[in-house]
């Protein structure tokens, strides 16, 4: 900090008495009063609150979802000829297994600004991941929005956590599933 030290200019070296005790005490009072107000106002900005009683359960269920999703994707990529995994723009799970993506499979995760053409998601080598979880910003639980794609996709498999708060579906184009079933017959 010696580098930062400067000699004070003249204006601030003049006598600067501390404020009257009354004003200082009043200021300290308001400051101390603000602390609980801040905790009350800010403790629940989204769907969970700080020190939520469900903390451990939510944490565990999210980690379980991550493990289950990784297993199912690994199985699809290594045994069922899937090459592309498409997440939605509201996906939260992909950052947790981007380093463990199965070989031969590519992850795609659009954003609201960089959407992916639906035709790519309807390819037979593609699987779409639809996650369900409590919304971080609003006190609601929702499935992700597949929009007009919903009618063109059929579930391959699904998973739900113990309390049903977290879950996912793996979906594929209906046409591909029907073609697969015909080939099996």
């Amino acid at each position: 900090m010696a580098v930062l030290d400067v000699m004070k200019p003249e204006a601030s070296t003049s006598a600067e008495p501390r404020a009257s005790r009354l004003y200082l005490r009043l200021l300290c009072f308001f400051l101390l009063l603000y602390i609980p107000v801040q905790w009350v106002v800010g403790r629940r900005p989204g769907s969970t609150s700080i020190f939520s009683s469900q903390h451990r359960q939510l944490q565990q269920e999210f980690l379980d979802m991550h493990v289950a999703l990784r297993r199912q994707i690994f199985s699809l990529c290594t045994q069922h000829g899937v090459h592309d995994i498409f997440f939605s723009a509201a996906d939260v799970a992909s950052p947790y297994f981007v380093n463990q993506a199965p070989p031969g499979c590519e992850l795609h995760r659009p954003t609201d600004v960089t959407p992916i053409a639906p035709s790519r998601e309807l390819a037979c080598s593609a699987v779409v991941v639809d996650e369900s979880l409590p919304d971080a910003w609003n006190p609601v639980r929702h499935w992700e929005m597949l929009g007009p794609m919903e009618k063109k996709l059929a579930p391959l498999s699904e998973w739900e956590s113990e309390t049903g708060q977290f879950g996912f579906q793996l979906l594929q184009a209906r046409a591909c599933q029907q073609a697969g079933q015909t080939a099996e017959r």
Partner: protein, 360 residues
Amino acid sequence: MLTRTTRSTDSPRLLTPWPSISNPVVFVLLLASIFFAILALARANVLTFPLPNEDDASFFFPAWNLAVHGTLRVPLLNAPDGIFWVPHGFYLWLALFLRAFAPTVEVARTVGQLTTAAAAVLLVLAYSRICRSRGYALLCGLLLVSPGMIFAANTVRMESLMLLLLAAGLLLHSYERRLAAAAVFILAVVVHPALLLGATLYAVGIFWTEVVIPMHLSRPRVTVKGRLLTMVIVSAVAAAIALEGVYLLHHLSTFHQHMAYQIARKANRSPLKTLLTKRGLLLICEAVFTSAAIAYLYRHPQAWRVFVRELLPLFLLALGLSAYATLGREIPYNVYSYAVLPATFFCLTDRMLSLPFTPR
């Protein structure tokens, strides 16, 4: 151990059984306790406050790509030309840590937690110099151990780095390195636009200081090392902004496309409705308070000079940030509106009450 403590020059010396805050060791221990309190609270609430959310991926993947593949292009996010709806400073910062440790989201979150806790410590250090009372600065520091800070610490977003830059700028200002402080605030714009208005108002404030106060009173006599530090900071910031500018120019069409989306999203929000929220009311209170302080202090020349030089640029900076946080209406901005800005205003008010009031 008995320690002598004094609150002001005219108060009697008291013998207390407690170690005094004026003891540097005690002060450092209390700063460390703020650091560890924020860190512990963030760790205790990880993955639930906030819940995992889409921002984790949006802001993690560009940094991950830079750390793993060495490019700002993000094919994984279907952005083969890169991401341009926020500047790239945060990605570079995060990529350094992902490269040094491991390219995982857990490392990214830990970086956020440590950065936020470090920013809180720097903020308290700056407060202690601005309001010239370690005890009061620590009281302001208590406002930083708050849900807003924990939330910022646990998200993979740029608020933690913004807080660190804000704190570094405040600390430089407290050492009267105003040009370097302005440079650091402007550097924050390469991370996130939240400080754009605040940094501009701060620059206006320090320019006004040069105009209002005679030069020999407003310019501190600076050591050679101090001048060198300012030059290094200003040059580094100019280089960072130039690099970002060149990168944007090379991807101008993508930048336009991405920003059009951002502007359309933010333009949907009614400013009037926003002002009637809790944040909006806080902003109105802060603006009214600052205006009243300016009007009152203007009639006290001695106090006015100190106010214009030391405090007014910071009031303007805080108001600019508060306006952005209010009108931006994003939950992660709670850290500014409910934690950092109130703490800063309390600190500035304490200093203001200590000014030498002599009527004109």
